[in-house]
Amino acid sequence: MNEFSSAAETASRIRNGDITASAVIEETLRVIEEKEKDLNALITFLREEALQEAKELDRRIAAGEADGPLLGVPVVVKDNMCTKGIKTTCGSRILERWKPPYDAWVVEKLREAGAILVGKSNMDEFAMGSSTEHSAYGPASNPWDIERVTGGSSGGSAASVSAGYVPVALGSDTGGSIRQPAAFCGVFGMKPTYGLVSRFGLVAFASSLDQIGPFARNVEDLALMLSVISEHDPRDATCVGADRPDYLAAAERSSLAGVKVGVVREFLTAAVEPEISKVVLDTAAAMKEAGASLVDVKLPSAGKAGLPCYYILAPAEASSNLARYDGIRYGKREEACDLMELYFKTRGSGFGKEVKRRILTGTYVLSSGYYDAYYLRALKVRRLICMEFESAFEKADLILMPTAPSLPFRKGELVDDPLQMYMSDVFTLPVNLAGLPGLSMCVGRSGKGLPLGVQLVAPQWQESLILKCGRAVEDAFGPAPVAGRGGM
């Protein structure tokens, strides 16, 4: 067992008794200890807890009491998912010591499946950012080049999988926060359909857009994770209770005959890194080779109006979701003489710059006198983008486009240029606005050795189709390699 193993393989070998969970975890801890100093992928490293859990799991396995699809598999979850009794900071000072009294639904499901949590991953504060530089706990580094960013906001989870800490991890995606760091770190990352995975225990950023999804280095592991976390949860009213298909079966090798892949050529402009445009076309060719037919689709509104629409709606919801951090009930509280001072000082010192920027933006667009011009108009644009995707899906079964317009940038390069930073999500956020599933896959490396990502987008609830096509792409380009070691 080593850092290259997949989750499915690890669980199966533990189940067969080829290896113990303790041995797997010890190897995981060794890798983390070796690389974490450079990467800063984790906010909380659960070293002792993981060892303890592995020992306990081995005992239960020996007694025939434990099994599960992720038996003994080490996992990392983003630090905005609640973990009972374990710090959940959201990358923020305001929650630096907060320990939730409950597990998020997804954490519960991972534990039930036999997974062992080894860490809580670094992230942009409250998931607001595209580089993981907006973390109160320092930026995470890209395992392919530690001078560069991981992308964000789920940068720590992407880096953990890319660096071989763990075979699988969870992130959350509000405007691209799983897919863009997956592309930057050279792994696979999937944002499911809005409503597939319960958000219970996911600290909210923008409730109508947030969705939890998995990172992995191959499609089978994504399918495995998806089948574990997508069970219906009555505690999330937006989580749709429907029969979940067999994702593992969907991820098996099969022909793409009859699948129409829509390529958004209009997105492949000069504003997009040429090497990225090229891999999009290479991927299209590979899918054609696997039996698919190619068509051109257009998404003009998504490309032009998606970004401003998103940067009105997401901050609006965030301004409301983050209002509860007032120093009254939990989290950070500054000393003050009266209520107003308590609010100002606590929120003033507890939130970072980017979070404040979005709270202010969100408060502004919801204010009376501005609501119609901004918020209401953005809702209409959102509807337009949904309709645009719907008509694209009349022509194509699946859409292929870049994940991000650029390669991973250098740390500090965009941190003071929010608009440029926001551009990083231009191809991912329309998918959130329309509530669709999207998968970012690593399909090679640039001349400089940096990962190149492409994105597959399907109609709502068509995760199986994405996995099927993703498997064909993986067969053509190979699984995602562990950074700096072998592969491609």
Binding site: N80, M81, C82, T88, C90, L95, W98, P100, P101, Y102, A104, R199, F200, G201, L202, V203, A204, A206, S207, S208, P234, R235, D236, A237, T238, A316, E317, S319, S320, A323, R324, D326, I328, R329, Y330, L339, Y343, T363, L366, S367, S368, Y371, Y375
Partner: protein, 487 residues
């Protein structure tokens, strides 16, 4: 003030719904008297990552109220977030409704000054309650408090807000409106409607029409914790606003708080700045579809409404409107009354009994129609004895007293008092009279010897007989038997 100055009042009434659990979580709704912060969970505390899930009963209860008010129920409705910072509001937003309330329109017919008056209903919407601040000053008030504590037991309790049209034209009418609304929610069983404990809270908007007939500025009055506080606060506002107008000033549009101890309303400017609540659709809750089928199902569960009961009582029991009002004020009372009548008591007699005896006991706090000390059947047995002429009305009161004090059935109490059925037949009466004559033979002798010229001695014996029979004997009969036997 010129003749044409009128008062215009609209009321916003918040009614806590008596569902088992809170609006969006499984915490118990029954928080009264609970240890502070014992009736809470991560959801109603708004902890990060938690999500609301709508309690279906809340919608059902609200639909009942909407139906009773004749409001138009929305086919699809949804929630909005009302954003503001206050320590008692765990999420810093209240889940409420905004552009599409659960129901709109409707009316409530009230009894006021002996007449019926129709007050229009503007809308009825759902929202969650907040927690409560406890200020640690000697008098429990904010000013001078060293610190404040927050109790979240009430956070997330479901409320309906019922907004009236500005159709109310006096403080006493406002009171009558609230009485009617309270009666309604109690009839529907959707709330205990208790103002003192805050289950029913009233905010009032009041203005005086200026002399030229146009509306004056609207003043919102809050913090009235009883019907009398409501009436007093509004009466105070009428006077205050008139004083302002008379002095040539303009009434400020503002929110004022009623201070019960000083009997005044105080401006809350400064404390409550102009809020921009930044309403927007609640993304954590899907919209709520209300189907015709669901509405019909709920309609079947509606009880007879107070005004329906009123008409029926007047018609079938031939009672006056005033008597009816008394009997149907509380649904339990009306049901108790009807049980008594259905057991065979003459309605007129039953109504009289309720007007006097039951009302007296209720005023003394010795009788609760929701949990009657005497079962309706037993009261019926007592009153039927009166109906039959077996006992007099006066004796019935004694029996009733025994039933209440000893917990006896009507038959047991009558037995105890020697009033058992059939005991006053002529034969028995003769025996009683014979006994008395024997016991007081010297008096009898005096009568027989003709010394009782004024009939005083005979009256004495007569009185003894009546006492012995506890007034149950027919006086005419006693007199004739007595005269016959002493002669």
């Amino acid at each position: 003030m010129p003749e044409n100055v009128r008062t215009v009042i609209g009321l916003e009434v918040h009614v806590q719904l008596a569902t088992k659990s809170k609006m969006f979580c499984t915490c118990s709704n029954d928080y009264i008297g609970a240890v502070p912060n014992s009736n809470i969970c991560p959801v109603c505390l708004g902890l990060p990552g938690t999500l609301p899930v709508l309690n279906g009963k809340v919608v059902e209860f609200a639909i009942k109220a909407a139906m009773a008010l004749g409001s138009k129920i929305a086919k699809r409705t949804w929630f909005h977030r009302k954003n503001y910072f206050y320590p008692d509001l765990p999420k810093a937003y209240q889940i409420s409704q905004y552009d599409v309330p659960l129901a709109s329109g409707g009316k409530l017919v009230i009894d006021t000054e002996g007449k019926k008056k129709t007050i229009g209903i503007t809308r009825l919407h759902l929202e969650e309650d907040a927690g409560k601040l406890v200020h640690q000053a000697i008098d429990g008030r904010l000013s001078g408090a060293k610190y404040s504590l927050v109790d979240y037991n009430r956070a997330g309790v479901p409320l309906i807000e019922i907004v009236s049209e500005p159709d109310i034209s006096s403080p006493s009418e406002a009171r009558d409106y609230v009485i009617r609304l309270r009666q309604l929610v109690r009839y529907l069983g959707i709330s205990d409607g208790d103002m003192e404990s805050g289950s029913l809270r009233v905010d009032a908007n009041i203005s005086r029409t200026s002399p030229n007939g146009s509306f004056g500025s609207k003043v919102e009055v809050k913090n009235m914790n009883s019907l009398s506080a409501l009436e007093k606060a509004l009466a105070y506002e009428e006077r205050r606003q008139d004083d302002v107008l008379r002095g040539g000033g303009a009434v400020l549009q503002e929110t004022r708080h009623w201070d019960d101890s000083s009997g005044r309303t105080l401006s809350s400017r400064g404390k409550e700045e102009a809020h921009d609540y930044r309403y927007f659709p609640e993304p954590d809750l899907p919209s709520v579809a209300i189907t015709e089928e669901q509405v019909q199902k709920i309609r079947k569960t509606l009880p007879e409404l107070p005004w329906e009961k009123e008409i029926r009582f007047i018609e079938i029991y031939c009672l006056s409107p005033e008597e009816t009002d008394l009997l149907i004020a509380k649904k339990d009372m009306a049901e108790y009354f009807e049980s008594v009548v259905k057991a065979g008591v003459e309605p007129r007699r039953a109504a009289n009994w309720f007007k006097t005896e039951i009302m007296r006991l209720m005023n003394e706090g010795r009788f609760e129609p929701e949990d009657p000390a005497i079962p309706a059947d037993e009261l019926a047995n007592l009153l039927k004895a009166v109906d039959r002429g077996a006992i007099s009305n006066t004796a019935a009161k004694d029996v009733w007293g025994k039933m209440l004090s000893e917990g006896f059935t009507a038959a047991e109490a009558m037995e105890m008092l020697g009033l058992s059925e059939g005991s006053l037949e002529k034969e028995r009466l003769r025996k009683i009279i014979e006994g008395i004559i024997e016991e007081h033979h010297e008096v009898t002798e005096e009568i027989r010897s003709g010394k009782d010229t004024k009939g005083k001695k005979l009256k004495f014996l007569f009185g003894l007989v009546m006492r012995e029979t506890r007034g149950q004997a027919d006086p005419e009969e006693v007199r004739s038997i007595l005269e016959e036997m002493v002669r």
